[in-house]
Structures are given as C-alpha cells and as structure tokens.
C-alpha cells in the first residue's frame, strides 16, 4: 500500500501548488474588480439610503432601509426646481443628432480614405490623429468668441455642431478600415448590373460597414453624452438647456450636502451609459482597443 502510493505525494503537492496559485490569482482578480466597481456601487448604494444612514457614524455598504425618496426628489425636480426629464431630453437630443450626423459625414470620408489613394492622403490621416488630441479647454476660448458673435451661445445647436466636429475625426479613423475591407468586386458587380453611385452606397457599402458604424457610434455617443467643458462654457447660466453632465455638476454645487439626492442624480446619469456599455461590450470585443491603438 504505502509503496504503491509513494509517487503520489509529488503529484499531489504539484496539484496543490497549482490550485493555491490559481486561488491567489483569483483573489487578486476579485480585488481588482472590487477596486474598479467600488465607487459605482457606493454611488448606487448611497442613492438608495435615507439621510439618517448616509450620515451615520458607521457607513454600511448596503442600505438597511432602502428608499426611493432620493430618486423621487430628483425626478420630480423638487430639489433643484426642474425635473430630471428636462435634462435627459436635452442630452438625448444633442447626443442622437450629433451621433447621426457625424456617422454620416464620417462614413463618406472613411470610404474616400479607405478606397482611394490620393495626394495628401497621409497628411490627412495625420491631421485626423492630431486633431483628436488637441486640448478642448484651449479651443473653447475661440469657439466661445465665435459662437457669441453668431448667437449660438445658450443654444443646443452650437453644442451639437461642436460635438459633430469632435466626433468626426475619431469616427473616420476607426471606420476607414471597415470601409477598406469591403471587397471591390461587390461594387463592380453592382455597377455592371447598372447600379448608380447612390445605390452602391446605400445597398452595398452601408450594409457592409454597418457593424463598424455600430462600434464607432458608441464612441461618438459616449463622447457627446459625457462632454462637460463645451456645455459648461456655452450654456452658461441657462439651466433649462443644461445637458445631464452639467446638470449633475450643478446639482452637486447647489446641494453640496444632500448626498443622497446628488448620488441619485449621478446614478440616473451614469447607469444608462454603463448598461449600454455592458450590452455592446461583447460585440465590440477587441476592436475597442485595436481602433484606439493600432488604427
């Protein structure tokens, strides 16, 4: 018995070592996940807490007596004088128009850059790369002065225009690879069958690059939905026109001790983005990174 078991301890020890190594790695993984999720979870938890729990001497991770009072106050607008819907509507309007227009403009440019070789093509690509990294707080000075003379301040139109302009370079940059991947033969076949340029664009190019458009519109969406500097500068004191990020910041400034309501407003602003992100994350896959780092 003992003899036949002799070789086993070695294998068992190795297995044990591998198992404990795996346990340590998984523990580290859980710690990273906790670090990443903690602030967001704390926001949600605070939003559901009554005031007595928020200021209790020993904070609890989970609300003991969960309440919707904070959300009701935010949505009805009793804290700030204007309901949440007003700001959600502004944000959705600005974001959806900016995403739709910038996608269309970018698609045209991406097809041109992905399909044709022309002089200054490389220069154009380098320009797109540089433009993405210009500091927005620098440009905002000139745009403020220009928009003031065009009466575009305190207006969502001006904001939409700027969001389109800043979404276009990134979108083109990511879309051009999708456009270049469409087989040329498809277009040629369609042309032989008598399809015009418009039909080829609408019936062939658009469906073929649609997955790419989904990915890039996510970026445009997140950019426009989250943008702060331009909204802060252009919308000034016209609170009714505020988009959600500005609203959350304003809310925080006006009620800097009512943390339950502040976290409720922030939750209502953040959760749609995060939910949206989890939904599309699988589809984005590594394209997310490839687009940002390797073109």
């Amino acid at each position: 018995m003992t003899l036949s078991l002799a070789p086993l301890p070695g294998r068992g020890a190795r297995r044990l070592r591998r198992a404990s190594r795996k346990a340590v790695l998984n523990l580290l993984g859980l710690l990273v996940a906790l670090f990443a999720l903690f602030p967001v979870l704390w926001m949600i938890s605070t939003a559901f807490k009554p005031a007595t729990e928020i200021y209790s001497l020993t904070p609890h991770p989970v609300p003991l007596h969960p309440t919707l009072a904070n959300f009701k106050a935010v949505i009805s607008g009793s804290v700030i004088g204007m309901p949440y819907w007003n700001f959600l509507r502004n944000s959705l309007l600005v974001t959806l128009v900016a995403v739709a227009v910038s996608s269309l403009i970018s698609l045209l440019a991406a097809i041109a850059l992905g399909r044709f070789r022309f002089r200054f093509r490389t220069t154009y690509l380098v320009m797109l790369l540089i433009v993405q990294l210009l500091p927005q707080q620098a440009l905002v000075i000139a745009l403020f002065i220009d928009f003031r003379s065009l009466s575009l301040l305190d207006s969502l139109v001006g904001l939409i225009a700027v969001y389109i302009a800043f979404a276009v370079p990134v979108t083109i940059w990511m879309l051009r690879n999708f456009a270049a991947a469409v087989p040329r033969q498809l277009e040629e076949a369609a042309a032989i069958d008598g399809a015009g340029a418009w039909t080829i664009f609408w019936r062939i190019m658009l469906p073929m690059v649609a997955p790419g458009l989904v990915a890039t519109s996510v970026f445009a969406f997140i950019f426009a939905y989250n943008e702060f500097v331009f909204a802060l500068t252009f919308l000034g004191t016209d609170t009714a026109k505020y988009t959600l990020p500005l609203y959350v910041q304003y809310f925080y400034g006006q009620n800097s001790t009512n943390w339950g309501a502040i976290m409720a407003s922030s939750t209502l602003f953040t959760i749609p983005v995060l939910a949206f992100f989890v939904l599309i994350q699988r589809r984005l896959g590594s394209g997310l990174v490839a687009g940002a780092v390797k073109g």
């Binding site: 990443a36 999720l37 850059l113 500091p135 000075i141 225009a161 400034g253 943390w259 490839a290």
Partner: protein, 293 residues
C-alpha cells in the same frame, strides 16, 4: 466625399486653433468682445505678462508634477492587471475586465462627484476607513473630518487615485491584447531556462511590447497633463486659485471676471504646444506601428 468632414473639422477645430494663436497676440478682453473698443495687436505682451505671473508657474508645476506621478502609476497598475488577466481563467478574466471597463466608461462628471462624496469630511467613507486603520498604518482619529479638497496636495491625491481608477482599464485591456499576439513558445522557453516571472517580463514581454507601451505612455501623458473636468469639479469650480493646473488657470483667465481672452489664449497656446510636442511623438510611434496605411 471628404468635403463635409473637412469643412466641419476646419471650421470648428482647425480655424479656432489658429484663432487662439491670433488672440494670444491681441488685447482681447471684455471691452473687445462687447465691441466697445477695437482689438489691438500687443505683440508678445500677453506672454511676458503670464511669464511674470507666479500663478502661471504654479499651475504649470502642478500639471507637470501630476503627469509625472499619475502616468507611471497608471501604466504600472494597468500593466499588472493586464498580466493578471492573461493568467486568469476565461470566466474570471471576463468578469474582471468587464468590471474594469465599467470604471473606464464611467463619465468624468460622475466619477468626480462620486469621489467628492467618498472623501467628504462629513460622512465620506474614506475618512471613516482611515480613522479605523491601526495607527502603524497611518490611521487614527485625526482623519475624522479631514478635508481633502481645501489644499493642493490632498486634492491632487484624490485626483491621482481617481485618474488611476479611470485610466488603468484601458492600459490593462491594451496590454492584454498585446500579450495575446506574442507566441507562447517564448515564455515557455524562458521558463524552461529557469527565468523568474519578473525576469521573463523584462527580458521577453517588455521588449516585444515596447511599441504598445510607448503609445500608452504618450496617450496617458496627453490625457493626464490636460485633465480638466475632474480637476475642475474636485478643486471646487475654480474657487481655489492655488489648486489650478495649467488648464484651470487658462480657463479661469478667460471665463472669470474680468475676462482676459488674449492672456488666456496665450496660456492655451503654450498648453497646446506642450501637448503637440508629445503628440508628435505619438504620431511617429503610430506611423512606426503601421497605423497610418
């Protein structure tokens, strides 16, 4: 087909950049924007003025120090998490990377408001946790009611943690994608030869992923040097002049009374030039990687 894109970028990004350059040589202020007085060219007047302003130098120092601290920390944390992800099982790796990407996707305004609450002197969980820590770890009752946002060092400590929190997922996922491109034989060979994980990282992984690290270094530098939204909210909406970084200093010169658009443009121009120098490095790295094809 390029026309609409070029027009939009030209009118709303390129031309304003040129304008910022032009304004920086003009006495553009309140009287000029309401049209009461004509603008005048003042040569390098705005530049000499800011170069003699101690607040400008302080804000530049804060921006540089902040980038010098935050960029390496974010890269280190992100790389460690990327290496960890490559060793985890499939399910665990998906869970951890999804959690991390949620931190990355959290809007800057939300992150700032959340961190303001975490470090709030009355009821914030950070002060509570620090006060409960044993004293040999630096904890103790003196943390009760500690204000994190009223002085530059604590405020930028909060910003450091916040930007690592926001920035590490992108680094981790990028490094992980890079690791997947490496042939596994290389690491096996290193292990068979008895190399420690530390040695195998520096001798095998790092040299092969150097181009990726270079791009990440430059991108992080651009983001952290120019950080605005988070700094604006955490330092109290331009209320604390000694907590300005370069971006806040520039913004405050333009948009607090009295507005000095000319002087602010000069600061903006300096900020842009500094970032452009880093950007040139980034573009060169991108070309080397074959991104521009």
């Amino acid at each position: 087909m390029l026309l609409p894109a070029t027009a939009v970028i030209g009118a709303l990004i390129l031309w304003p950049s040129v304008q910022v350059g032009l304004f920086s040589f003009q006495n553009y202020g309140l009287m000029q924007i309401i049209g009461a007085q004509p603008t005048q060219w003042v040569g390098f007047g705005n530049y000499t003025q800011i170069l003699h302003d101690p607040e400008f130098w302080l804000s530049l120092k804060i921006s540089v120090l902040f980038a010098v601290v935050v960029v390496p920390l974010t890269l280190i944390v992100g790389t460690c998490v990327g290496l960890l992800l490559s060793r985890l099982g499939r399910k665990m790796a998906t869970f951890v990377s999804t959690a991390a990407l949620l931190a990355w996707a959290t809007p800057a305004v939300s992150a700032s408001v959340i961190f303001a609450w975490l470090v709030d002197p009355d009821g914030g969980v950070v002060d509570w946790a620090l006060s409960k820590l044993p004293s040999w770890l630096g904890g103790g009752a003196h943390w009760v009611g500690f204000s994190w946002t009223n002085a530059p060092l604590p405020a930028y400590t909060v910003l450091t943690v916040m930007l690592i929190w926001t920035g590490f997922p992108f680094i981790a996922v990028t490094v992980l994608a890079g690791l997947r491109t490496l042939p596994s034989e290389l690491h096996e060979a290193a292990r068979v030869d008895g190399a420690s994980p530390w040695r195998s990282f520096w001798k095998v992984t790092f040299p092969l992923l150097k181009p990726i690290f270079l791009v990440l270094l430059l991108l992080s530098t651009i983001w952290d040097f120019g950080v605005f939204t988070q700094a604006y909210i955490i330092t109290g909406d331009l209320g604390n002049r000694d907590e300005y970084n370069l971006g806040l200093y520039e913004y405050s010169r333009a948009f607090t009374q009295p507005p000095a658009y000319g002087i602010a443009s000069a600061v903006a121009f300096i900020l842009t030039i500094i970032l452009l120098i880093v950007t040139v490095g980034y573009v060169r790295a991108a070309i080397k990687q074959g991104a521009i094809a």
